[in-house]
Symmetry: D2
Subunit: 511 residues, 4 copies
């Protein structure tokens, strides 16, 4: 299969495989080539550990290490074609590249899954720490800057799709900053909690006990330690690592994906023609529809929701793969191979969402206009609360009836309440902030700004103190810097871009 367009996976031909930047960042962890390289890394580390334990010489180990650096995926697959066993094929490829005397020490004491499970834990950890978390942090930071920018901008809160009470747009975004932060922590913890194993074909260290009967887990701990991994908490396993460690990471990623999907849904609904509080920055060459030249659609946000629909059900596979008969059956093998796709699609969606937020324009005036169409309804709530706070026993129903009367008589509720002596007598007792709310419902945003700013400050602190020591060191800063500079139009330039568009006569209204 020499052509990208011969592929059947949309990831391979369209998303991951067609996005040069993403491909370059991801392939070293997610491609089959990468997976085999990680397996070779484990085999090499095994050789070094054997030398530490004086099972083989340092020279023999070095020879194996060097061989491991040379074996290619293509070689392994050709050998597998003959041997019908992919790890045995890998071992043969290594052995062929070393002297007779070093050959017995290749793969010694290992069962296939000692190599593959450990390699998989390692690549998932590297992928998460080096790529996914930095991308999530970038999205989080972008959202944080949006929260700050819009912390004060009133927007009508919507429940059941209907106008409820006011918030600020910054507050609305801050609810996602908070949820996302929780998921970032969860992903971070799960990735750091991935485990390897080196306990042999049924997990009882049978082979290794021939070397070290008193405590064969020492060998495993040393080997895994060189790779930055640990065995399971009890140093116990079957042929395979306890599946819960990977399941936890999958769950963390999917539940984070759901948060992104929710955010994407919200923003795409704000693009609706009738709402129009957010719209995509119009570009001259863009085509929104193949037959309707006028349409600019929130396709990036739609995309994120769609990718979530494709990936979320894979949790079912993860749960089914928790079950493996006795010391292991192979029915988790092919299915387990597909799991890496989840992380690719997830990271692609994170990146896509970053781009998407860099291409939107927020129409504050429209937000205000939308809010004001419901002025009278909005104050029904503070009216009821203030009546009740002042001891009106049927406050809720009184407010409802006043609202109905206002609706019938077309006298605005803000006015009507002053015409009712009993209500008026209560109004006279209110403080100025309370009265202000009854006069201008856009003031009834509660603690929107306060919460928004508090949440983003907390988020920044958490990111700084918890994540950065880990992500900064291991990430290729250069690539991250390039990553940021490449984005077009970068969020920093968004205001400029908008001004340009405005100057060119585009208002926030046309989609």
């Amino acid at each position: 299969m020499a052509d990208r367009f011969w592929a059947v996976s949309p990831l391979d031909f369209r998303y991951y495989g067609a996005d040069k930047r993403l491909f370059e960042r991801l392939h070293q962890y997610v491609s089959e080539e990468a997976y085999i390289k990680y397996q070779l890394k484990v085999e090499a580390t095994l050789a070094l550990t054997l030398a530490d334990w004086h099972v083989c010489t340092k020279e023999q180990a070095d020879e194996i290490v060097k061989a491991c650096e040379q074996v290619t995926a293509s070689e392994v697959y050709e050998e597998e074609h003959r041997e019908h066993h992919v790890v045995r094929a890998l071992v043969n490829c290594i052995q062929r590249k070393v002297n007779h005397s070093a050959q017995p020490y290749v793969h010694l004491f290992a069962t296939s899954n000692d190599i593959t499970d450990t390699a998989n834990a390692l690549r998932l950890k590297d992928l998460t720490i080096n790529v996914i978390l930095p991308d999530l942090v970038e999205l989080e930071q972008l959202l944080i800057s949006l929260v700050r920018r819009y912390a004060d901008v009133p927007q009508i809160g919507r429940t059941h799709g209907k106008h409820a009470e006011p918030i600020t747009f910054g507050f609305a975004l801050a609810t996602y900053v908070s949820r996302l932060l929780g998921r970032v922590q969860s992903i971070f913890n799960s990735a750091n909690n991935l485990r390897g194993k080196f306990s042999g074909s049924v997990g009882a260290y049978n082979a290794l006990s021939l070397l070290e009967p008193s405590d064969p887990t020492l060998f495993e701990k040393q080997l895994l330690g060189k790779l930055g991994l640990k065995p399971s908490d009890g140093s116990i396993s079957t042929q395979i690592v306890e599946p819960e460690y990977v399941a936890d990471l999958a769950y963390s990623a999917i539940s984070c994906f759901s948060v992104l999907a929710n955010l994407a849904d919200d923003i795409r609904h704000l693009h609706r023609t009738e709402i129009a509080e957010v719209h995509q920055i119009y570009e001259v060459h863009d085509v929104g529809s193949s037959t309707m030249p006028h349409k600019i659609n929130p396709r990036n946000f739609e995309h994120v929701k769609s990718m979530w629909k494709a990936m979320m059900p894979r949790m079912i596979t993860v749960f089914m793969d928790q079950i493996s008969e006795h010391q292991r059956d192979l029915t988790n093998s092919a299915s387990g191979r597909f799991l890496i796709e989840l992380f690719v699609a997830f990271d692609y969606s994170v990146s896509r969402l970053i781009s998407a937020f860099n291409e939107i324009s927020v129409d504050e005036a429209r937000m205000r206009r939308n809010l004001e169409t419901s002025k009278d309804q909005i104050i029904a709530e503070p009216l009821y609360i203030l009546l009740a706070m002042n001891g009106v026993s049927e406050a809720y129903y009184r407010a409802r009836d006043l609202f109905a009367e206002s609706d019938t008589t077309k006298i605005p509720l803000t006015e009507l309440i002053w015409k009712k002596p009993d209500i008026r007598s209560i109004l006279d007792r209110l403080n100025s902030a309370q009265l202000e709310v009854l006069r201008d419902p856009a003031k009834y945003v509660g603690a929107s700004k306060q919460r928004a700013l508090t949440v983003v400050a907390q988020a920044e602190e958490t990111i700084e103190t918890i994540l950065f020591p880990y992500t900064r060191g291991q990430t290729n800063d250069a690539s991250l810097a390039r990553f940021r500079s490449e984005r077009r139009p970068s969020y920093q330039n968004m205001e400029a871009a908008e001004q340009e568009l405005m100057a060119a006569g585009h208002s926030g209204l046309h989609e």
Copy 2:
């Protein structure tokens, strides 16, 4: 992405992409290149229909048709990079290859999904009729030949994993022939029921009504008819074809996949060391385990179950994609692109199962031995039935107590019953067939052979009369013949292969 091992999808680098024969048969329907070719076919057919309706000239249409034959996937993707709209990109690529005068007629009256939904229905139909159904029929025929071969071979029936009453191995397989046949019919019907559309951006034939206000569905019917498709039953749609037609096909395939998974489970359990009624033919170069040189595992059957675990949950995506807001939202776009993978994995598993059945050996002697370990338990049922048929009121509990007595006294139940005068008086009334069953429980197979042979005869007839007229014509018989001849060891040669193995000293017992 120029290298197969840079792919992230196991289908692309390992299953579909690495199996030359399968790749050659499938790629023309399932690759992105194929999908774009199908879209071009729809665009070309549109041009011809426009000429029929005298919207453009026959020459202009021919020019478009010719252009459609030349456009490549890579060209389209490059153009999309500029235009950010994949169908508009396709249209531009076509237009560039025709004269100025023909350009307006490319894609005329069409919205993107008129092209893509129709192309998708067409490729799914071709894929199913030309590849998947022939493969399923081949599997069915292989099972039928096994049913015939083992129709008479007694095997203990197992419920709850425990010995129940005897059947024959042919009967056990015949239950799968029957279930599979039902699913083949369901897949066949769903594939033939796929629909296209040509009703424009909101499904109301808005554009086409400018041409033919009285009944624009005539144009659609003619266009789709040229492609062997129909519109939905009511000639109605939104921007997209009613999603239920594709959902039905997905369901048919997945529910068929479950039948294969069940079959695979059964056969792999028969490989268990303690059961050992089926084993994989031992090949000198095979490696069963990277550390246990002696193990030959039922990996093909395990694989089919595993692939089912990876694919079955995708039904959730299909259900979610039935929902599209108003005249359509785009959240079914990326998710819908992944659906083709289901069919690739499914066909791969069908092929793998065919290979797997070609590589097993059935140990009839072991089947008999296993059955006989439960002789005494088995006859408890016919004993109870015969007592009850002869009016013993507490027959069930009487049989249970006799079984318990036999178990305690170690007198075989077959003997014990003759020592009890009241039982004996009933035994004396039984006919010879009934008595035979009480003497040799292996005779208590009921209608196993009869049902097995009836079912396979019916299956063959159904395949012949219903499926063959469709599948034979359109299948490339040459490739199918090659397909069959290539298999190694072919089922026809299985007996020979076994004899060879036996001659080489391999019994049915070593795994």
Copy 3:
């Protein structure tokens, strides 16, 4: 558990269990009591068949039939408490109620699943034909009447949540009439295709062959025939009926549920404050929010979507339950018991949707106003089409540029096009219908009305010719009539109700 509020299932304490009308219609099929009654019906029918075959006397059979009419669920469960086997308990309860001489013939030749699988097929069939299909037909008829009423009422078609091209509201609903009709047919076919079995503990008619060795399926056919059922197509099974028959019904129901969820989503979005094309009829005593007295929410439509989210994933269980080891394992037993809930929740949602549609008001004026805000965008499509039809080679981009110019200059596109000589020269060639569309975009509804009316006529015919012969006979017409008369406000009275509300000063705008 003597109190409804001690239940844990929302169906039991809140939906099915709290809705007197629904409970009365459903409980005779879906409750555990009903399930046991159906099992007793199968046991009784078995006795009658035994008499036909002269295994027992007519008197003995009648005695068993009478006993079956007396056994209660509570009795069976008490007996199960002792016996730890629910079907054996059922058998014991029957036996206790008959004379010594009739006892041996209770349950004779049967294995538990002969009774339970057959009873389950029967109750699912009755439930579907007698309750679910009539309810679906009622919903369909309600939608049909709405389609007729609004066939001519223009509404903006929406794709990606944005204004696309116009349709009529009747057309929008007709797309659901069509999809729903397809699903009704699918449910009808699956329900009629449910199968029973009477082939014993491993499916090979082992016991029955003691009676009729030449063809034991005759007994099964006769028994099932009395119940209006058939065995599987090949008269073959394991201990259990081929699971695909029930899986097909579950799929039909769930895929129909998705159509309802899509419809519910659409209508609830039309309730959005900013769209407000549909709103819930305001009732004085209704409470929309516990703190916001002014809110009337589309809770019925939200409910249907929510119930779909609870039930749709159960398809995964159905697929997993297709797999049963060898002649059967019991891991489908508890899980299979939950399936009935799907149908209860589904029917409840159908009923809820009927009520919901009876409580909405459609604001035609608002529909028109919404459409007109996008006048200029809308005509971009017909403009492009008409230019292209008349040979303008870059018609699509020309239309896009004109739209952009109109947007910049604020000259309406309807006017701007007359100011461009090259465009004008084409406009002069158009016929009056084509010109009309460019003048009043609300005319650009294509074949909306035509398709809407055709589809509903077809739907009515299908319902009449296919479904009614079945549903009418078996449905309790009186209950259906009562059902219709009870609804408040009935759809027939909707116009009146609306007028009343209007008279009372409620406009379509306040939510």
Copy 4:
């Protein structure tokens, strides 16, 4: 619905509703009555907090508290029938029971979900801490005692269903002790991390800011603190609590359920007639099959797997319910109500598994016999390892060939190796432990015992130090003691029970 058998949920009529002990322990958390009581508790706590803040008097608050103690579920549902809003109904019921002067303070500042989400978090936390965790700990302790008992008993390890290398039965169970412990910790953490909210209809503390503009979260913290809860980490929410807190608990429970299902699968396969290493203790009155009097099936283990199949897919609903439009839509309402069922089914399965393990008998002799059938195959691995450790370059293939030769010549591998001079020269270098393994493969259990005992010691310590301080205090110890004493046959008496059975002539072999 006055009769349990009118229910449609198997939980209500069969599992939870029919198991007196379970019902008594669970209903106070999981029934609808309980849910309403929890809501009343939140309303009462609100009143007390209002008094703290001097919004109302202590007397008014006490009056409300007292009223909350009197309201019943049935009352609320009747009121809802009129009001069509369940929380407003609850509020009305409370208000009716207090004086005019206290009425305004009922539900003041609250939106419905302030009450319901908080109540739900509280009941889920109580349920988990008071019932589910103690039950899981009991299961864990039971498994620990089994591990200790069988730590030394050799069993063949099985991979791919085939004999691999030996372990001990205690080791096999210890792998579950370890996995279960991880899940118990995860459930414990998630339950302790559940959150409430009191931030009003759009989450911005709009109403509460009328009282305390500077920091309305103080009121929320105080209110929730009285209930032992906290708000979300950032004190931010929409109308509803961030859904991830409940999703985490659901995931923890389901992933734990998968571990139970895996354990159940393993044990039921060990019941297979051909394996027979574990069997259910035979009881005289038990019925295994309604037609096969001799069968005793592993139905409890089958049940646990089956319940997992019914419940596991509900994660899909949880993920879908993470998505709620803007400040909330109601499509998570009905679906969210079903979530409690998951925990009921889960706890039921934990209890069922405890019973199941109390009813099994382990056949050590059979374990040994099974292992010995594969003696020769087993030593292929240590042979290969020892050859390689001693520098034999093609050790793996040499071992494979020796195994093949042994298989052909029927000379046991244990003998054959001594006949090959090159092998012998290596054997002469081995230490006694290594040689022992080559003589008696049952010795090749590696670190089975060591790991098993270490893991259970760790588990006990974790349970003691982490869980007990929480679970012991809050659990009703009396009920737990009774719970343990009621079990029949209790595990402590298992040996006695087995001896009795043996004395009665039952061997471990008959099922």
